[in-house]
């Protein structure tokens, strides 16, 4: 599995602090809400602590004096509450306590709702930002990262981020505040008893750290195993039709069981440690509770260290709750670390460098005036011109678009060490059909990747109507050409929507005309809902050939000046191809067309055929010339040599 060696790295954040700070910076956009919610959290914690503290006041100052309990030993006066005294004061103070609690619960609700809102908004921001960044990235990014890895940024990693924002962070704040608040209250009630609690707490922290570390190690292993089994499932479900044909199900199951067992083992370990943590913490807090109860009772009976019954009752409440936030934090540590690792990967995507586009030459509608000069116009004229602004002298010139593409000594490699194209020089004149022929890896597709700047050349120049393509705005450059690729990708939506992808404002008539041109009209009409048939999952319900027909229709409707057909008809039978060709010929009239094809019947009528080998043009000329040459093309054509 490809992820294997990276796996451990994947689940640990490299710089947790920096990542954490960056997460906080997202919160910055919601300052007012954030301020209110932090205020609410603090107030809520105070209310909770205050409410519990009230128990002590009520016991000491009301219940005990009212009951006249050992008045000699507890010389506490019955408290007055304003003008109220005795029973009415008792009732009133209970009322105060109730009020504190009600306010606390309201605050709790308020900050919860604010946090949920902020979280969902931040997630929306993050998702949008990720998607926007993704759209701006160069093709190289998509070629060098697997879809699974990119998708997991949108699913797993944003999920853990959500968990962190909506639960992790507020819990940390609440828990820390609670611990501090309770600690202070306990110190006020009895510093000595607090010591007892803290001693046990230290033990708890120690155990928590030990078990947490163990569990964390196994969690990382579990994640790696999950990665492995997911890889296995992906590969083998994808090839399931082959499995069926070979009745290979049993061997598949065996392979699966092996991965499944390993995952089970790792995840059992991880969860065992995590699950054992809570009871240990819980029970240590019982120990702490029991110990303080014993010590506290002795103190109270003896009346030493200023201890009294009321304080003890309150203290017991605090000590009962003291360990909870700490145990919770220990348990959440794993989740938080995983969220940080996820956030870090998200930020890595956001920090990817977008495709640079320093181009400033744009494509505009134009007309020719009486003198034959080219003038820019707003309306569609069918005539296009490159608007070229010269920085040096501040003038703007117009160059009529003709569709001439020129390669001058172009070299290129996807990685610096390996040159894929070497010193390619060629010119495609307006209206010419240029065919690229050669083995897999000879550099045919690379040439088309360079023309529309999916990748940028390493050396040499590519000129479009005598303008260096680096100067042309990428959007305009790509608008001026349409690509039909070997692997056709369709999007969820109707058939018509998919054709309209080439021209968003196309009318129904235009869609139909494009489909007819691509010879797709017939099969589309035979679909259950015709042009309104919904395509799902990349058009899985269509055959490869039908998908290619749709892709051709999509390119036809865009009506571009330059067409690039990369194995566009490889899955279409030759007879249908012949039928399309008629439409294509009409489409290609006056346009520059690049054709990459395996089938030589497809390229035969090209004006120029370039035979590529190892990134170099080894032969060029039209069909007749190349056949006459009796070189590589001739060998290919007569079937003496295999194309791969």
């Amino acid at each position: 599995m490809a992820r294997h060696p990276m796996a451990d790295k994947r689940f640990k954040a490299k710089s947790p602090t920096a990542t954490f700070k960056r997460i906080l910076s997202y919160l910055g956009d919601y300052k007012p809400q954030l301020f209110v919610s932090v205020f609410c959290i603090i107030a809520n914690v105070l209310c909770n602590i205050g409410g519990t503290f009230m128990i002590s006041i009520i016991t000491n100052n009301f219940i005990l004096p009212l009951s006249g309990y050992n008045p000699e030993k507890y010389p506490v006066e019955l408290a007055q509450l304003g003008s109220l005294s005795g029973w009415s004061a008792f009732g009133a103070i209970i009322g105060v306590m109730a009020a504190i609690y009600v306010v606390g619960a309201l605050l709790h609700y308020l900050y919860n709702i604010l946090i949920v809102r902020i979280t969902s908004k931040i997630l929306q921001d993050v998702r949008n930002e990720m998607f926007e960044r993704l759209q701006s990235l160069p093709i190289r990014y998509f070629d060098s990262n697997t879809h699974g890895d990119i998708m997991s940024l949108f699913t797993n990693d944003t999920d853990t981020l959500r968990e962190l924002l909506s639960n992790g962070l507020p819990n940390i704040i609440t828990n820390v505040l609670t611990v501090v608040g309770m600690f202070i209250m306990m110190m006020v009630l009895s510093p000595l008893l607090t010591l007892v609690s803290v001693a046990i707490l230290v033990v708890m922290l120690f155990i928590g750290k030990y078990i947490g570390g163990k569990s964390g190690k196994h969690f990382v292993r579990q994640q790696r195993k999950i990665g492995e089994i997911n890889g296995y499932i992906e590969e083998h479900i994808d090839g399931l039709k082959v499995v069926k044909v070979f009745c290979h199900e049993d061997a598949e199951k065996e392979g699966f069981d092996k991965h499944n067992e390993e995952l089970k083992f790792a995840s059992r370990k991880a969860h065992t440690y995590a699950n054992v943590l809570m009871p240990i913490m819980g029970n240590l807090s019982y120990v702490s509770y029991a110990a303080t109860a014993i010590v506290g009772t002795i103190f109270s009976i003896r009346g030493i260290f200023g201890m009294n019954w009321g304080n003890l009752v309150s203290f017991m409440q605090f000590s009962r709750q003291f360990s909870n936030p700490i145990a919770q934090m220990a348990q959440q540590m794993n989740g938080i670390l995983m969220a940080l690792a996820g956030a870090e990967r998200i930020f890595e995507l956001l920090d990817e460098k977008p495709e640079d586009d320093e181009g400033y030459v744009t494509l505009v509608n134009a007309t020719e005036d009486e003198d034959g000069n080219i003038v820019e116009t707003d309306r569609y004229t069918g005539v296009w011109a490159w608007k070229h602004f010269h920085k040096a002298d501040g003038t703007t010139t117009y160059v009529k678009w003709t569709g001439e593409v020129e390669f001058e000594d172009v070299s290129f490699g996807y990685v610096p060490e390996k040159t894929v194209l070497k010193h390619v020089t060629m010119t495609a004149y307006p209206g010419q059909k240029v065919a690229l022929v050669g083995s897999t890896g000879a550099g045919k597709t690379t040439i088309t990747n360079l023309i529309n700047r999916f990748y940028d050349i390493t050396d040499g120049k590519i000129r479009y109507d005598n303008i260096n393509i680096n100067k042309i705005k990428k959007a305009d450059l790509r608008h001026s050409m349409a690509m039909v690729l070997q692997d056709t990708h369709l999007f969820t939506g109707t058939v018509a929507d998919n054709i309209r992808f080439g021209k968003l404002d196309a009318t129904d008539e235009e869609v139909e005309a494009a489909a007819k041109l691509a010879n797709a009209d017939y099969f589309i009409r035979h679909l259950p809902d015709g042009y309104n048939t919904m395509l799902t999952g990349d058009g899985e319900n269509l055959s490869q050939g039908q998908r290619q027909l749709l892709a051709i229709a999509r390119a036809a409707i865009a009506n571009p000046p330059v067409l690039i057909l990369d194995e566009a008809t490889s899955s279409i039978d030759t007879r249908t191809e012949k039928l399309i060709e008629k439409g294509m010929d009409r489409l290609m009239q006056g346009r520059t067309v690049f054709v990459i094809a395996h089938r030589l019947s497809t390229v035969r009528n090209a004006d120029m055929i370039l035979v590529l080998e190892h990134g170099e043009i080894i032969e060029r000329g039209n069909h007749d010339e190349l056949i006459a040459k009796r070189g590589k093309y001739y060998q290919l054509y007569t079937g003496a040599f295999e194309l791969e």
Binding site: T59, A98, L106, K241, S439, R478, H489, G639
Partner: protein, 530 residues
């Protein structure tokens, strides 16, 4: 008390360990069950789910369910038990004070149920939209070249933003209800505390003053309050568990969908344990429909009889149902009407394993798996010797290029076999199928990336080495089928004509068209080059 705490510690730790064992075991069983089920899926079942969605169901969804399963066994058993125990203790201390619970507990349960009821549909709606969002993101990733080539980035971003906004709104509306639960519980529990302090305090005062002999004392009150806290904790756990269930139910539904899927192709109960005696194939008035409706027939009235050992070519336009036709032979789909016989016996009367074991099929979408070339070839016959492997590889014209790799048959193929070329991959797939020594060999457009000369060698290799095998060749190139014993011309789900190359050239318009589209130019050349 310390002793009790220790026992509780041990039991707690043990329960944690057992819960981990149980939940991970459960997840592993569930995953296994799902995988086994999917392995048994027929082609039709597979068409209904797409690969990506099946993978999610086996991975993310199972993990979600595992999480909530663990919560349930740990919390849902522990919490109610704790709740009841704490309640009992509280009642034993002061039955009178416990009346408070009689009021607050039902309120709490009702509140919780109402919350869950409200939250459920909202969560489902949210998760559904969330799935949509992820699906469209994935689609965008796959189709990024199309997006960029047509400069549709802004349009895609606009689309995504509107979906992500909907997700945000739905998420907020669902979680709004969940966040109400905690303050609500907190309020109720605090209400209990206040009441207890008030009524309990009054009781203590009265009992000490002698007005209420045998009433509560301060210790009782402390203990009582402690039990109230315990009740609060249990309730919190129950509420959290409910939340987990709400969130994981969508996952559960998706998993159950897979488990409940009816596998439409399986062994008949009375299927005999027989093997096809020869490679003859008979289609008797076969109708077929992917949607199982007589209105949309993908194959109509197919009547075709192929003798054992015959080589048959199939030609036809895009979408003419060539693939559909041959997929009925190894019973990858079942006929709608009529019957398909192999070796004179209806394919439905064989055990599937016996039937498919006798048929070698190379699919249009070839898949090789990660592993060595040898491991991939052994799929055809796991006990094959090196000689047998080489024999098959030679017939498929794959031996030479395999030997040209430094590691020969031990060369590692990465996932999907991306490190071999298209033509090499096709030849490996043919060799893999040949290792089965099949009675029937079906090549579905399996030599499209192989040059015509090699293509011809493969066919002659088949004929020489596997002469008894019935061979069906679907091809786009006339040259791949022209020397077949018979050629079937398919058009729009029907057989247009059957005959030899010469007969069809003479009589069939479609065949002639295809032939001319491929031959005209080169025929001219040959004349020119004499």
């Amino acid at each position: 008390m310390i002793g009790m705490a220790l026992i509780s510690l041990l039991c707690g730790a043990l329960s944690g360990k057992l819960a981990a064992t149980a939940s991970t075991g459960f997840a592993s069983n569930l995953r296994q069950k799902l995988f086994y089920k999917v392995e048994n899926f027929s082609f039709a079942n597979l068409d209904r789910f797409n690969t990506a969605s099946l993978v999610t169901r086996l991975t993310t969804d199972v993990t979600n369910i595992q999480q909530s399963y663990m919560m349930i066994i740990r919390m849902l058993v522990r919490a109610p038990f704790m709740l009841i125990m704490a309640l009992c203790m509280a009642i034993s201390i002061s039955p009178k004070l416990s009346i408070i619970f009689a009021v607050t507990l039902p309120l709490l349960v009702v509140g919780l149920l109402v919350g869950v009821r409200l939250a459920f549909p909202r969560f489902e709606k949210m998760l559904h939209k969330y799935d949509d969002m992820n699906e469209s993101t994935q689609e965008n990733l796959i189709g990024i070249r199309a997006v960029k080539a047509f400069v549709r980035e802004d349009n895609e971003i606009k689309k995504f933003k509107s979906v992500s906004e909907t997700v945000q709104k739905l998420q907020f509306s669902a979680e709004k209800i969940i966040v109400f639960a905690f303050p609500f519980m907190q309020l109720l529990v605090y209400a209990c505390i206040v009441c207890i302090i008030f009524f309990g305090g009054r009781d203590i005062i009265n009992s000490v003053n002698g007005k209420l002999p045998g009433g509560m004392d301060l210790g009782d009150l402390t203990a009582f309050l402690s039990y109230v806290m315990q009740i609060l904790m249990s309730l919190m756990m129950v509420a959290m568990t409910f939340m987990m269930i709400v969130i994981s139910r969508a996952s559960l539904d998706r998993v159950v969908q897979v488990l409940d899927e009816d596998i439409d192709i399986k062994d008949r109960e009375d299927a005999e344990d027989i093997y096809p005696k020869d490679g003859s194939i008979d289609f008797d008035n076969v109708d077929f429909s992917y949607s199982k409706s007589p209105d949309v027939l993908n194959l109509e009235n197919i009547d075709l009889h192929i003798k054992s050992g015959e080589t048959v070519g199939i030609i036809g336009g895009t979408g003419s149902a060539k693939t559909t036709l041959v997929q009925l032979i190894p019973r990858l789909y079942d006929v709608f009407d009529g019957s398909v016989k192999v070796g004179g016996v209806d394919v439905r009367d064989y055990k599937i394993e016996n039937l498919r074991g006798a048929i070698g099929m190379v699919l249009q979408k070839n898949v090789l798996f990660s592993g060595t070339i040898r491991q991939n070839l052994l799929w055809g016959n796991k006990d094959a010797t090196q000689e047998e492997i080489e024999h098959a590889a030679k017939a498929a014209q794959a031996h030479d290029f395999i030997m040209s790799f430094p590691n020969g048959y031990e060369t590692d193929l990465s996932q999907g076999g991306v490190n071999v070329s298209g033509g090499q991959k096709q030849r490996l797939c043919i060799a893999r199928a040949l290792l089965k020594h099949p009675k029937i060999m079906i090549l579905d457009d399996s030599t499209s990336a192989v040059d015509t000369a090699t293509d011809a060698s493969i066919r002659s290799g088949l004929k020489q080495e596997f002469g008894d095998t019935t061979v069906l060749i679907i091809a786009q190139r006339i040259s791949s089928v022209q020397d077949a014993d018979r050629i079937i011309v398919m058009n729009d789900g029907k057989i247009d004509a059957v005959g030899t190359h010469e007969q069809l050239l003479e009589s069939n318009e479609i065949y002639r068209d295809v032939y001319l589209s491929q031959q005209k130019g080169s025929a001219d050349e040959e004349v020119q080059n004499g």
